[in-house]
Point group: C2
């Protein structure tokens, strides 16, 4: 099984990509809805939660882990790689690789949660590539609650997007990384406010493409992941809205099971 | 000590009222910032968290508990009263009493989180009073993140407030209960959009007034609460923003100590 976790159900955007790119694989998902969101919390707390999330997936039979949550990828991926005995994929590295391949002007924008942007992970990783890239970041903390309220088409959301993105438009970026699972769900507004010429990078598609390449090179692991059983979706808290959003975002019916961590 | 808990640091609005109305009393506060917010979570999860929060305060020496969080008050107060061996005060009852005393047209508005409004607690309690009161409720889930982003004066916030409150203005309420700890922090915008003639009820002031009456009638308990030691403020997660908001909202310096539950 491929284990995928997120701070909530936004990570279902990654599940959708697995369905698209790796349709034969069985998935076990965990969304930490009882403690969501992670993006406004401290590194210490996020790391602790991420370790618990991943360990639960391994107990459920996951043979590889995808960290769908950008905040956890930015803050906790190194700790996860050190402590877990299965391959760990996070969304930052493939997003950077794609952005570097796409940008022509060498001017990248990154938008994410407060914790993701404050981590400085994108600057740090891009510096390590030794390439001459300008990077402009912007935390957009209101985007997650706006998506969760299904306000993606409302004029207030457009105004807020304009406020967050305006300074980036002045800085002439040509590529923008949507560094939060929820942001692809408001892709239209973001594209409209950042301008049609800016290319958007959705890390969900990129991380799954990376996993696909990895699996093709590792036939041994690959076999253990394809079992033909039903996918499993666990969350730590369930409300009517969780159920409705899960169905809408995944664009198919989904049975959520409750599992408490701690 | 008076124990006060909230899902985060919004409950400091209740602490401020204790400073104002009961300046001699020692406070122990717990804000569950590692799991905030409660308002979008299920009744089961909120009740579990509220019990843990209150039990921690009792371990710290609290002799009475104030549930500053509306969501926990609406969903978990009865369970807390049944399980704890100290007096428990919640914010719904005093808010209702004040609103009933204030309204002339017998038309009340209630705004709160999704969980508070979905609980139906206000309708239920008002029905129990057997009084002929019309009650109009509205969940305003974006107000908490807007306050936390310090966007209370932004035009986007005014537009969102107008969208949430417009239907209430048509329904001719004359009294509006701010049924979430964060809402008094955006009182000006709410007053502007609901109209100057509508009276706003801040439950923080009301619950502390109720506690004051209780203490005056119980000199035995009163003595054990005044100890002259420093107030204690615990939170389950600390970021720079937590520190800054705590200081701003309390309008005095405050030393936050980290304490993890579970």
């Amino acid at each position: 099984m491929i284990g995928i976790f997120d701070s909530g159900i936004g990570g279902l955007t990654v599940v959708k990509e697995v369905f698209r790119q790796l349709p034969d694989y069985q998935i076990v998902y965990f969304g930490d809805t009882a403690r969501t969101p992670y993006g406004s919390k401290s590194e210490e707390t996020i790391t602790k939660y991420a370790l618990q999330d991943a360990q639960f997936l391994i107990e459920q039979g996951a043979k590889i882990i995808i960290v769908a949550c950008h905040t956890a990828s930015a803050v906790a991926a190194e700790t996860l790689k050190k402590h877990l005995h299965v391959p760990v994929f996070e969304v930052v590295t493939p997003a950077i690789n794609k952005a570097l391949a796409v940008t022509k002007k060498k001017r990248l924008g990154i938008i994410g949660t407060t914790a993701t942007i404050a981590s400085g992970i994108y600057q740090q990783r891009l510096k390590a590539t030794n390439r001459d890239i300008a990077i402009i970041t912007q935390a957009c903390p209101l985007f997650v609650p706006l998506v969760e309220e299904r306000w993606t088409k409302k004029p207030e959301t457009k105004m807020i997007a304009k406020r967050y993105l305006y300074s980036m438009t002045l800085k002439q970026i040509d590529t923008l990384v949507l560094a939060c699972t929820h942001y692809p769900l408001m892709r239209d507004v973001i594209q409209q406010k950042i301008g049609r010429r800016v290319k958007l990078v959705d890390p969900a598609a990129e991380v799954v493409a990376e996993v696909k390449r990895f699996l093709e090179a590792q036939p041994e692991i690959e076999k253990s992941l394809v079992q033909g059983e039903a996918h499993k979706f666990f969350v730590s808290d369930i409300t009517d809205k969780t159920r409705q959003s899960a169905k809408d975002w995944l664009e198919r019916p989904v049975r959520l099971e409750k599992h408490l961590l701690e």
